[in-house]
């Protein structure tokens, strides 16, 4: 592949919430700053020249950037499909009207439970009401392409079905994301990670509801019925890559760790980083050999290397949340 299919770009480290599992908490703690408007446009020029299909903007909260709408318009004008992951708390009527005028924009609103007490325990007191107010504005204005996203944790696991119902009530898609031990997720791992029984139940639920989006992140659990829904393999450094607020380039948003810093988008060609970086090469050549004999290998290819790395310090071990691999990992430990 000559370029990534999509790029996750954490365009700001600033956020008005303090979610306990925040993927970007480490980036924020490093305080490396963010690219200015001119630098952002230069990055977009390069991604367009590489023919990257989609940029997924996240953060932090992207709408905290005063220049963000112009950045979005610029990317869309270059033929790039844009998706924004937002906490929804800054959505106003006038913002929705501006977003409605854009072409090629998808929104993903994060909400971590179907009930206020559950969500607020993760995303902060009072946030459920503020997020739902934003969702209602998008729904009232009939914004066509948005989904509700929940990071599935032990805290909100029992509300998955209710969360799906909530999304249906607003006429939008449900997206369930995998909780990973990256960023702030690392310190919350033991409290939030799913039990084996919950992982099994989730696998069945996803199999029964194939319309639910997952960002292809549960492939270690994916049932047969979802086989055709995605590539069912890690796309890091092959299909995707991530850009941090300060321009650091990483193989994936879940591997924004100094050990995987592949280059600096403000000083190097992004295309060269993608093509030639030893970090990317390492990810591309990665094979989880211990999984080769498994009859599900073609469904997951060993699962998520980021989860394996943060839990075992190795990229080459099976996804620790794979129910079949769990026993083998115990032996390794």
């Amino acid at each position: 592949m000559k370029a990534p299919v999509n790029v996750t770009w954490e365009i700001t480290e600033r956020c008005n919430l303090q979610c306990r599992h925040c993927l970007s908490a480490d980036l924020r703690a490093r305080g490396s700053g963010e690219l200015d408007y001119r630098q952002c446009l230069a990055v977009i020029d390069e991604l367009a020249a590489m023919e990257v299909f989609q940029v997924n903007f996240g953060g932090g909260e992207p709408f905290l950037r005063h220049d963000f709408l112009n950045i979005l318009r610029y990317a869309q004008g270059k033929g790039i499909t844009t998706c924004v992951s937002t906490n929804g708390t800054l959505v106003t009527d006038s913002l929705v009207e501006e977003l409605l005028a854009m072409e090629g924009l998808y929104l993903q609103v994060s909400l971590d439970g179907a009930h206020p007490e559950t969500n607020d325990a993760i995303r902060g007191l009072g946030t459920f009401a503020r997020i739902v107010a934003g969702i209602e504005k998008l729904s009232d204005h009939r914004f066509p392409d948005f989904s509700l996203n929940m990071v599935v944790t032990r805290v909100n696991f029992d509300e998955i079905a209710a969360f799906r119902q909530l999304a249906l009530r607003y006429g939008v898609k449900t997206r369930l994301s995998r909780f990973r031990p990256s960023g702030g997720g690392c310190s919350m791992w033991e409290d939030y990670r799913l039990t084996k029984a919950q992982l099994t139940e989730l696998s069945h639920f996803l199999g029964d509801h194939t319309e639910i989006l997952t960002g292809d992140s549960f492939f270690a659990l994916a049932p047969e019925s979802r086989r055709a829904l995605g590539l069912q393999m890690c796309g890091a450094a092959k299909m995707t890559m991530a850009i941090a607020p300060d321009g650091g380039v990483y193989p994936c948003a879940f591997l924004c760790d100094p050990a995987f810093l592949a280059g600096d988008a403000t000083r190097e060609s992004i295309a060269s980083i993608f093509r030639d970086s030893p970090v990317f090469e390492r990810l591309r050549e990665l094979e989880v050999e211990s999984c080769h004999a498994c009859d599900r290998f073609s469904v997951c290819h060993g699962g998520c290397p980021a989860v394996a790395y943060f839990l075992t310090d190795s990229l080459g071990l099976p996804d620790p949340e794979c129910l079949r691999a769990a026993a083998a990992l115990e032996e390794v430990r």
Binding site: K2, V5, N6, G79, L231, M239
Partner: protein, 82 residues
């Protein structure tokens, strides 16, 4: 042969193997081993028409069938030739 354009929800680019289609509605990728028989439309420009380069009647028929399959998947739309 008809002309084909990529609809607004589809992105296409040239790869070594042929064309790579990306359906933004469901983020599905479709790998089309078309070699150099099909050319992707301009990535950033307004022109959405696919280029067709094939020599020989047999090859033209094969490419025509391929385009019909892509049309059935909603990845291209037939339009009147220019």
């Amino acid at each position: 042969m008809k002309d084909y354009v990529a609809p607004p929800w589809v992105r296409v680019r040239q790869e070594e193997f042929g064309l790579l289609f990306y359906d933004t509605r469901d983020t599905k990728l479709t790998f089309v081993r078309s070699g150099f028989s099909l050319a992707a439309p301009s990535f950033s420009g307004q022109e959405r028409r696919l280029g067709v380069r094939c020599e020989g009647e047999g090859r033209e028929r094969a490419v025509g069938r391929l385009l019909e399959k892509l049309e059935a998947k909603g990845l291209v739309v037939a339009v009147e030739p220019e």
